[in-house]
Symmetry: C2
Subunit: 323 residues, 2 copies
DNA sequence: CTGAAAGCGCTTACAG
DNA sequence: CTGAAAGCGCTTACAG
């Protein structure tokens, strides 16, 4: 920084002003400063800026890289954060790297707030919220100390099952998501619609993965008669079901209709073309970032719990039953 | 930090020593310091440590979150980096966020070195290497200023095609990866084996995505006679081909055999069970991290270009031709 | 082990 | 605009 100042012939304070885009420097000086910085390969030291200015402009995001839905979310979070002048610091949870470790790293970076994607217990969330402003995205938790953004999973599930019933399906199975985020509400929604129409509810225990979908497909094939429709816990599970059924020689939606949940990018792929319940990804990202900003920049302290609407997207994996 | 020191009744310097795990403090003092820190919620400020100590223990990794192969790599990079005492800072390239932006961010964090996953031109890599020790993972580039770790793509491709020939296939099509990393070498390997056996080479232009695989599958169906085997540019493309073929009512490997490339996690899924050429992911991650460490901690300055072996993994999508 | 001091690369407030 | 000064939370080297 001193080198840049010397080269341009101005004070270090002015260079600082130019790089932060503050007023107090002429356009000509700005150009010369940037020019000199480029030649010298100078780049402001984020750590020093942060240290001195006492303000972190970093939003920590705790996520699972292998989770496609998280990837969709962080891609939406980046532009939202940038709009508010924040950088995003990613903290990755991997099979060899527990959440606590990723959290400590994020806190070491002094992120101003943390957006927590995915599953967490109330105890974990509460403990973390005591250390840093926290927005939990996904889990249906409530508390005074943290914000949440979640989807209306129960309503989404009802939309999916009502769609199948309207197509004429009577024998509809749900492959659920166990204890994962939203799974309980999706189960509830499924049960409610089946009950309403006087249909028997059948739930195959599953998870939010392709493997579990493929496994559940084997269970389905053991049913006699074969169900005419499946409501999967999420898109990954649905994709596993579709592929496994096709591999076993069945057609989708000819023999079995399948509905997913999430509205992930994978569901849109032309060879999948999955009917699904879309969660509003960019709206969720927006709400999460704004919740954090409100606490950080506007001084909000009371908890805020946002629920985003879901929407049924009818594509190519659902049709009226043939049997 | 001062609060912790006061609470325990020691100097700040001692607290610093305890947190860095250096000698000069008794076990009892260490315990008391950690105890007090936990009660006070104290956590060392990474930025300040870095600023003062002049050493960054951060490895920047530039990657694409939506790329499953990158995800496999970063999951392998984390434990390797930790082994050498380095933290990983992720820089994400997304559709709305160009590489240059992610690079600036990483450099702002003063990462000690950068591991660059995925595609980059020689000019980009050279320019970046002038600013920070750089290891490019994937692209077949050579230069004096940076290290690379890549796979023996040509040999891998030959393994795949030889496998198909040995099964009895004569009509083998390659769906390529265009200008992406390794695509040229994989094409070369395919052509070499076809030529060696006096077979005609047919290449369908593709990309490293499921969509391109699905699109290529339509092209395949227009071939008369239908090829009996396909060598796909990578696993994602292969998965798209398999699914599209099955959707069109064909069986894999009954009607068409399919081989992928990468050995990604997706290829292992039971409903895919893809025959593929595995790149040594953990070996690649290890080589990349070690290349960076050698420059950082051992003072190596000459470039190092590592090529990792590939391995054919025969699974369920290849079989002798029926026709 | 302590305690005082210097300094990392910045930002900030102030007198000019 | 300048220039000098203080200070962020640490680490480091040193005399005791």
């Amino acid at each position: 920084m001193a080198d840049v100042a010397a080269k341009v012939g101005v004070s270090r304070a002015l260079v600082s002003i130019v790089f932060r885009g503050k007023e107090g420097a002429s356009q000509e000086t700005r150009d010369r400063v940037f020019q000199a910085a480029a030649e010298l390969g100078y780049h402001p030291d984020t750590a020093a800026q942060l240290l001195r200015s006492h303000r972190s402009r970093h939003l920590g995001v705790l996520y699972t890289p292998a989770e496609p839905f998280h990837v969709d979310l962080i891609e939406a979070i980046y532009p939202m954060a940038e709009k508010h002048g924040y950088d995003v610091v990613l903290g990755a949870q991997t099979p060899t790297r527990a959440m606590t470790k990723a959290v400590e790293e994020l806190l070491g970076f002094r992120t101003a707030a943390v957006l927590l994607l995915g599953d967490a217990t109330l105890a974990e969330v509460t403990r973390l919220a005591a250390r840093v402003p926290l927005v939990a995205v996904g889990p249906h938790l409530r508390g005074d100390a943290f914000d949440t953004v979640s989807s209306d999973d129960s309503r989404g599930a009802r939309l999916a099952v009502e769609h199948l019933v309207e197509l004429g399906h009577r024998h509809i199975v749900h492959v659920d998501g166990g204890v994962k985020a939203g799974a309980a509400d999706r189960r509830r929604g499924y049960r409610a619609v089946m009950r309403k129409h006087g249909l028997p509810a059948t739930i195959i225990p599953g998870a939010y993965t392709e493997e579990s979908g493929a496994l559940a497909a084997r269970e389905l094939l053991r049913c006699d008669p074969l169900p005419t429709a499946v409501f999967a816990g999420n898109d990954r599970c649905a994709v596993g079901i579709v592929h496994a059924l096709r591999r076993f020689g069945l057609t989708v939606p000819g023999d079995v209709s399948v509905v997913g949940f999430d509205g992930s990018r994978a569901a849109q792929l032309p060879h999948i073309d999955l009917t699904t319940v879309r969660q509003d990804i960019s709206g969720t990202a927006e709400a999460a970032v704004e919740s954090a900003i409100e606490r950080l920049d506007d001084g909000r302290t009371e908890a805020k719990h946002v629920i985003r609407k879901t929407q049924l997207i009818v594509r190519g994996t659902t049709a009226p039953p043939k049997r």
